[in-house]
Amino acid sequence: MSAIGKLLDQFKGVSKQALRAMGGSGQLGYGVPADAFAEGLRRKPHYIGCDMGSIDPGPAYLGSGELATAAETTKRDLKRVLLGARGADIPLLIGSAGCAGASQHLNATLALVREIAKEEGLRFRLASIRADMPRDFVKKQRAAGKITPLGGIIGELTDEEIDASSNLVGQMGTEAFVRALEKDVDVVIAGRACDTAIFAAIPSMLGFPLGPVMHMSKIIECASICCVPGGRDAIIAELEGASFVLESMNPQRRATPMSVAAHSLYEQSDPVRVAEPEGVLFVDSADYQAVDDRRCRVSGARWENARKPSVKIEGARRVGERAIMVCGSADPRFIANLDSILPQVQEVVRGLVCEPGEVPDYSLLFRRYGLDGVYPWPTPPAVNPREVFIMAEIIAPTEGRAMAVAKTTKQFLLHHGFPGRLSTGGNIAFPFTPPEISCGSAYRFNAYHVMEVDDLAPLFPIEVEEVGS
């Protein structure tokens, strides 16, 4: 019998039984703290969930199809959670495979899982859920006015952008995980998914009320981040029905009413309202009570079903090839004159890498760390810094072109003359050579929209395989 089958049997006809959900990792692939994970297993959780995803690392991973995490660490983490869940014969659910959750990320994650199963002699039933949005369907929804931008700075989605996305994914909700679990499996690995859905599927199948279920899921998907001090260690939530109790599996971390309440601020634009594909979670009515020094009981969150389901869609498109050139300066006169020197060097470079009258096919941007590399301050500093780090960033149609611009930029920034110059040996220092580095393709997000749909299920197809047989 599958792990989910056993769990459903265990709860059949039994009321008032608490469900222990273990948040194994909020960022699988960066390392899972071993001691807390082992302690979590000793508490006999009913299932383990792990989130792998985030849109924070930017458009490059979604666009390129590369894993955001290192293959070596990803495999180590997958091995830890697979061995843990299979050893205890409990369901393991992983969301947003490979961070961005498109097919390439899911495929790479599934390949690692099969490799681990082979090496460790594991046999299990695996469901995978794809999250790539069919372009024709998205265009149809666009034409029907069912797609809305998720903020003022991204425009209406166009058919041109839909076609230009190198990957276009949708965040699946709880229903997709429920459909996968209904296929009687041990392990579920999903493409792009709402982090809550990973944890909400099993308790919603068991009939727990959705307010506390979704609130619990929103908290434990980040592992022990809701504690003081916050951290990445495994956490267990014991869901009692209308309430749940949180405990970090690292004894140093305390879940306090204040720390747990504060967690709902994290990476959310609104602290009391969380929109999901199937509805909205409201935590303004939530109550947080200390059980003891390290545990907190949470109750009172409300869930409202949406009138129509919706999917958050994310797309990234290639904008060119990126190269950088890195250097620094300790020359006070060079630093004081950067406002005029850098635009002059841009012009000099243009004249050297383009024919007269030719419109540049690249962009050349200087970032001035120490002055305004991180934030575009409206006024210069009262006193100039002693040193400045300068990074030239070039985006061009080809890698060769980007590197050509980077190399000419390096040479002419080094030797650029300016009034009052003392340092005629060179304006800048290189930490190593070559200081010009090819960074691969550059991408930008071209879709971050919400799409209303009639039916979520056809967008997130499920495949089942017997691994290790």
Binding site: E267, S363, Y375
Partner: protein, 101 residues
């Protein structure tokens, strides 16, 4: 008058998705929280001025349960677009540190 970075326990920024910057300012006690919330130095006008955007682009959301005030605003550039300076948005809290409360 006290600078915000002397009064608050946490002043942080982060993306809330690639289009939005969200700031969380947390306080040690209710008195400090109330003081900041009621201060003209922590108004949508003052925060907008610190970022060079109109007050209408700043949303202030008190969250008393965590003695915290959330401030959300549009990013000036989509996270990770060419020219962005802070892909995660984790360093966009700097302009409000010096707000006078």
């Amino acid at each position: 008058m006290t600078r915000l970075d002397s009064l608050a326990r946490v002043v942080r920024s982060k993306n809330a998705g690639p289009l939005t910057i969200t700031l969380d300012v947390m306080f040690e006690d209710r008195a400090d929280y109330d003081r900041a919330l009621q201060s003209p130095g922590f108004s949508t006008e003052a925060i907008g001025k610190a970022y060079g955007i109109p007050a209408s682009g700043v949303e202030i959301m008190p969250y008393p349960k965590a003695l915290a005030i959330k401030v959300s605003m549009d990013r000036k550039i989509v996270a990770g677009d060419p020219g962005d300076r802070d892909v995660y948005g984790a360093q966009q809290h700097a302009p409000i540190l010096a707000l006078e409360i």
